[in-house]
Amino acid sequence: MFIPLFTLSSSVSGIMLRVLLALLPAIAVYVWYYGPAILVSLSLASITALATEAVMLKLRNRPVAPFLGDFSALLTAWLLALSIPPLAPWWLVVVGTMFAIAIAKHLYGGLGSNPFNPAMVGYAVLIISFPATMSHWLSPLAHAQTSLSFADQLGYIFGNPLPGSTTLDAITSATPLDHLKTQLHGGVSVHDAMQSQVYGYLGGYGSEWVAAAFLLGGIYLLGSRIISWYLPVTFLVSLFATAGIFHLANPELYAAPLFHWFSGASMLAAFFILTDPVTSPTTQKGKLIFAAGAGFLTYIIRVFGGFPDGVAFATLLMNICVPLIDLYTQPKVFGQKASTSNKQERP
């Protein structure tokens, strides 16, 4: 007999489904700027994730149907697909997703037990193993001009050569973050580098609008109380503050905080990656520490590290700290606090 006799009609699958829903605007913007290739990698990742999940559940002697239906594998797949270049070859998506689901999720005990964000583990494995392939980002500017057809993009993903005289270099470019890093290395100041069309208004032509769409989805999640404000707000504030301090110290060397908000995976991380409940702290204070640390590390890795973006590694590094953070931020229980706190005046 289950007591309480009735429960709130929420479920794990319902939560995951709403998060997937919140990703849709960003995917739409993505398609607008980069072409439909992303839909291919999303589907590829989804199929791989579900198949891997099913196999792992069978191997681990768990019931397949309820766990496949919880949509958590699908969410991992989508987050990974959104983090890697849309024109990535099919095997890149498949390898990354399989690693995320099989190793990062199931070998640690499956849903609810994995210490690291599976999508970010998948991303980290790919960027370490295949740095060159992972840097071939489709250029939204080039896409606007040459506009590869869906068939061409699909063909390329599955190993066919690009049509006619188009070369890979012509349609891909470094991401704004990567581009800026190279320019700075070459002695160009931030201000001069930013003159390039690549940077758009805030964080990069095209990609800033994808980031804005992630923000929109995030606001929907906040509004529907799927996620709490602690993680995203703290992360963005921390990233902004760190970037702001450096920018104020030397605006020629360090880009403006808003650029860091709207480039790379900042918005995706703030609302969809850090907010993964399994791999983030459970206490409110812990969430603040976790997100602040992630924001700080993201900036440090972006600006001083060897990788184009710092979100994945910052997330994974903070994931390691979660048990410790939770242990040291246990809230006071009823009766241990000062007795007359949170007073509330009644009208």
Binding site: M1, F2, I3, P4, L5, F6, T7, L8, S10, S11, V12, G14, I15, P66, F67, D70, S72, G110, L111, G112, S113, P277, V278, S280, T282, T283, D326, Q330, P331, K332, V333, F334, G335, Q336, K337, S339, T340, N342, K343, Q344, E345, R346, P347
Partner: protein, 522 residues
């Protein structure tokens, strides 16, 4: 307006109270047979005070309270005692307990009743009167009221009377307040007098306007100046004793602390009513109001004699064939009864008839995803997801470290859990395992001491035998040497060892079994 306080968390489950509070309280009458358990209260089982075959009068003592925390049990009506034996009682275990079976004669003939004026009676005498009248907390925790009325360490400031009734479906307190507000208020004033409290606050949730109006009117009519009816916001579990004390006074009573030591005490409205009946009318606690609701034709409240079989009440409310379970208590904290044949006890405020159509079972439990919706609603500021993890892995030490015993088992966490994990069941499991471990540990400690004493005694016997032997030998020697005119030496006694033995015997005296404070809801 009075300043109110809040507590962390809480949920707003659908109240479902209107089904059962539209008709007045109905008298359930005298059934063919009454089975009265002798252990209906927190503390020690009452000692049988009647014989099989004896004719008893209404209100005659069935069970005598034993020990400092115990309460009396009485004959709910006049009749003949048919049996004193083990019968299945209204308990989650489904195990039998000592009960007195009474066959009523239908005359409902009272023992002589003595009315007492509480203003001229010393509190100690009143407490004994309540104890002998079997007055216990009727909110569900059934803690003997006389124990809660003993003076505490602090000067009494506030007496809280709990009319919040926060759990869905239950309306017994609501109906009692609507119909018998006057007597509740008089009972509360008596308790205030006994505790010498400065003020009485009657907390009622704002979803019971009729009860609030009735109680306010009663307070006015009686002219009790230091008494106030306070409307509190509806939130579950706002009717938990600790939560209501917090909301009304701002005081947080931690686990293991007695609220009376902080200058505040809390009683249920039905308890105040029973205390009034016991003192000013000389009527012991023989009946209670119980809500019969859920899958029945006419959900309503009954005033039923303690010991009435639940099935009788259910059929009066209109039993339905598709009922699959009988729940005692509310939908959030209730327990499943072993059968409908168990009898009504003092703890039973509500029976919910459950059917799969009315309460569809939740989907199978999924793993915890640490979403902390449970921590967000926990009224005790606990981390239910951690407690679940520790309870499930049987890491009981860690569970205690994370304040398992601060959990009031309100079920708010299970209510919101998107993985549909029966969290409270895990906590109950962990708590009873810890209690069992403690019992075993205590037994082992006693066995160790007794064994050590046993060994010591054997050793002493051996030494004494040896000493006797030596003495005999010495005597023989002395005899032999006496001829040579040498005085024998006296052997010294062994006072040290005797002292050690005495000390051990003193230590072996058994520590008393301390009952945990079960004042969760009153």
């Amino acid at each position: 307006m009075r300043q109110l306080f809040t507590f962390h968390g809480g949920v707003h489950p659908p109240a479902n109270k209107t089904q059962s509070n539209r008709t007045p309280i109905m008298q359930a009458g005298i059934p063919e047979k009454l089975v009265v358990p002798l252990h209906q209260h927190a503390g020690n089982t009452a000692k049988p005070a009647v014989q099989i075959g004896e004719r008893v009068l209404k209100g005659q003592l069935f069970g005598m309270p034993e020990g400092s925390v115990s309460s009396a049990v009485h004959a709910p009506t006049s009749g003949t005692v048919a049996a004193i034996d083990m019968q299945v009682v209204a308990h989650a275990s489904g195990l039998p307990d000592l009960c007195v079976t009474l066959i009523p004669d239908g005359k409902d003939e009272w023992v002589p009743r003595k009315q007492t004026d509480y203003r001229t009676t010393p509190p100690a005498e009143l407490r004994n009167l309540l104890r002998m009248a079997g007055v216990v907390g009727l909110g569900g925790a059934v803690f003997p009221s006389d124990v809660k009325l003993r003076p505490g360490a602090a000067k009494m400031k506030t007496l809280v009377i709990n009319g919040a009734e926060c759990e869905p479906y239950i309306t017994c307190d609501d109906m009692l307040m609507r119909e018998r507000a006057d007597e509740i208020v008089r009972g509360a004033e008596m308790m205030r007098h006994m505790l010498e409290a400065e003020e009485v606050l009657i907390g009622i949730e704002d979803n019971k306007p009729e009860a609030i109006a009735a109680m306010q009117q009663a307070v006015q009519q009686c002219g009790f100046a230091r008494m106030e009816v306070v409307t509190v916001p509806t939130v579950y579990p706002g009717g938990g004793a600790k939560q209501l004390i917090r909301v009304l006074t701002g005081i947080e009573v931690a686990a293991g602390v007695r609220s009376i030591d902080l200058g505040v005490q809390c009683f249920n409205v039905a308890t105040a009513y029973s205390a009034h009946r016991a003192v000013e009318h000389g009527e012991p606690l023989l009946s209670r109001i119980v809500t019969i609701t859920g899958n029945v034709a006419q959900p309503q409240n009954f005033e039923a004699l303690i010991g009435t079989p639940i099935s009788v009440l259910i059929s009066k409310a209109g039993a339905r064939p598709d009922t699959t379970a009988h729940i005692m208590g509310g939908p959030m904290m209730g327990i499943r009864l072993p059968s409908a044949e168990v009898s009504l006890t003092k703890a039973c405020n509500c029976i919910i008839e459950s059917s799969p159509a009315l309460f569809p079972p939740p989907p199978p439990a999924m793993p915890c995803i640490r979403c902390v919706r449970c921590a967000d609603v926990c009224p005790a500021d606990l981390q239910p997801q951690d407690l679940y993890w520790f309870a499930r892995s049987k890491n009981f030490g860690k569970a205690q470290e994370f304040h398992l015993f601060d959990c009031i088992e309100c079920g708010a966490c299970s209510y919101v859990c998107p993985s549909h994990i029966p969290l409270v069941q895990y906590y109950r499991f962990a708590k009873s395992e810890i209690w069992a471990n403690e019992r075993e540990k205590k037994a082992a400690d006693i066995a160790r001491e007794r064994h050590e004493f046993h060994l010591l005694r054997q050793e002493r016997e051996k030494q004494e035998k040896q000493a006797a032997k030596d003495k005999a030998a010495a005597a023989a020697k002395a005899k032999a040497e006496a001829k040579a005119d040498i005085k024998p030496e006296a052997r010294p006694a062994e006072p040290d060892q005797i002292d050690t033995l005495r000390a051990i015997v003193r230590e072996t005296a058994h520590p008393e079994v301390v009952h945990s404070d079960a004042e969760t809801k009153d």
